[in-house]
């Protein structure tokens, strides 16, 4: 039966390459840039990061003459410059979840793990590509947000701050880092729950539902616990005010990094051991 008419010519492949981490990173880069969801999330995240500071700067400047002294004292130029970061984190987190759950919902994960059956290089490559893109994109965005909002405020001679002032560069860098870490945490969550809806819901629960829930607790409990939540700890990276009930920028940043490490570690163990 095997001496059939041969009508298909299959080209041969002369080279025989091995799977390497660098090659898997290149593959993940191709996957990342070839999806609309990537462009949408990054586009929306970028827009929010810049648009909110500009909007807040315009509103603050126009309302300044009507504001009370206390109101004016409560304004800080960095809060305005980084106003977009709090919103952009959601767009980046959704993308972080999608980077991995998009593969599970479409079945692409099977192709990915057949190509890279050791599995872990896929997770590391996704983290590297997504983390690098988020950080490299956020740096110019927070700088644009800072200088744009300052330019608007300076025309009204209010709320002036220099990039060289203490804590300013650190806060801006921290804002970019915060968004990146939030995205990585979301990617870890997505990899654990393996469903887009579940991943986004879990992320939103931890970052947006848990913190206000703490207000139900007695105040001293709330003060003791809240600062250790990922959202509060991470926010210290770009926050200028560090009260008695918040961690230092370094402490908060390290704790946020720890949350990311735990999420990624659990994701890695499950990726290797679960059936796909």
């Amino acid at each position: 039966m095997s001496n059939a008419t041969v009508s298909v010519s299959i080209p041969r492949l002369t080279e025989r390459g091995r799977v390497t981490q660098a090659r898997v990173v290149l593959s993940e880069w191709t996957k990342f840039v070839s999806l609309r969801s990537t462009r949408w999330s990054l586009g929306v995240g970028s827009l929010l990061t810049i648009a909110f500071p500009i909007l807040f700067a315009v509103v603050t400047a126009s309302r300044w003459s009507h504001m009370s002294a206390g109101d004016r004292a409560g304004r800080h130029p960095l809060d305005i410059a980084l106003a977009g970061v709090n919103v952009a984190q959601l767009a980046i987190a959704v993308l972080g979840v999608l980077v991995i759950t998009g593969e599970y919902s479409t079945g692409m994960i099977r192709s990915s793990l057949i190509a890279v059956p050791k599995r872990l290089p896929v997770l590391w490559a996704k983290l590297a590509v997504f983390g690098t893109v988020s950080f490299v994109l956020m740096i110019p965005l927070v700088l644009i947000a800072f200088f744009a909002s300052q330019a608007i405020l300076s025309r009204h001679h209010i709320l002036q701050i220099s990039f060289g002032d203490p804590g300013v560069a650190r806060s801006l860098l921290g804002g970019a880092l915060f968004v990146t870490l939030v995205g990585i945490f979301a990617l870890g969550i997505g990899s654990i729950v393996r469903s887009t809806a579940g991943g986004i819901a879990t992320f939103a629960g931890v970052f947006f539902v848990l913190p206000p829930l703490m207000n139900v607790l007695p105040t001293n409990w709330n003060n003791a616990i809240s600062k250790y939540l990922p959202s509060d700890a991470g926010r210290q990276l770009f926050s200028l005010h560090h009260g008695a009930h918040s961690l230092s920028p370094l402490g908060g940043g390290l704790l946020m990094l720890g949350y990311c490490a735990v999420a990624v570690a659990v994701a890695a163990v499950l990726l290797v051991h679960r059936d796909t």
């Binding site: 299959i10 492949l13 993940e28 191709t30 999806l35 079945g107």
Partner: protein, 334 residues
Amino acid sequence: MEETKFVLTAEARAVIRGYGQIMIEATKLTKDYGEKRAVNDISFTVRPGIVTGFLGPNGSGKSTTMRLILGLDAPTAGDVRVNGKHYRDHASPLHEVGALLEARSVHTGRSAYNHLLALAQTQGIPRRRVNELIDLVGLHEVARKRAGQFSLGMGQRLGIATALLGDPATVMLDEPVNGLDPEGVHWIRNLLKQLAAEGRTVFVSSHLMSEMALTADHLIVIGRGRLIADMSVDEFVQKASGALVRVRSPEATRLRELVLGPHVSVASSESGVIEVEGLTAEQIGEIAASHKIVLHELTPVQASLEEAFMELTRDEVEFKPVESGVTEREELAA
């Protein structure tokens, strides 16, 4: 001068083409999903140079076995190796096994070209190879379209291109003709035969016996996760057909009395025709000759492959839909 004809074995062809030792070897392979035993203690070897059909009713464990071979699922017990190693331990996996799974395995938002490119890049397969395969499977026109817009047949062609990306020594296709038009089905049959002729190991699953009859040389048959048969297509038909011989004779009634015995049964569907089970055509012919009975027809009746399959899997088909959760599992996961 006498002409010498060299006949190469499949293994020899495989070595010449640089594939080395290529085969799939399953040993006491078992997989449970919760309470349900999807694959039950099966052992088999899939050899190079021929098309091996993997046959069984829907939900019999074919797809699960293929997932176990690829390391997508871990076996509950037993072991399966591809080309001498666990699939996971191969340095260039796509060069070892090219697989088409029954379940969708393509991101719907990505173009066929980028899908293939991303997979190729994991092991340094050049970009030109991606273009070659897109041309080979006839997807050139739609290669830049999102795969989510593909028809079932186009998706299947993309799956074939994915499977052949690494010029694999072993090709494993789960229900490859599903959703293809007659032309596509014909194309797949030729492709499978050619891949085998090149010395590769070709392992193709189907629940359609008729499809296997046209392409496979060897059959591995499973039902309810158990191995039912592992033999050549010819053997399979012989084993399942009970050596039935049809005899047409004006003295059919007299012949019937003569051939009847402890291991021989005779049936008759029309007058003048008897169907004898338990004797060969030669034996019946000799009995007739010795009694000077005229025969108008003496035909050994071979069961069709389809009948053989039905016969062998009759007890293995799962009638309760509740228990056939193996293929459904994929939809739940998706």
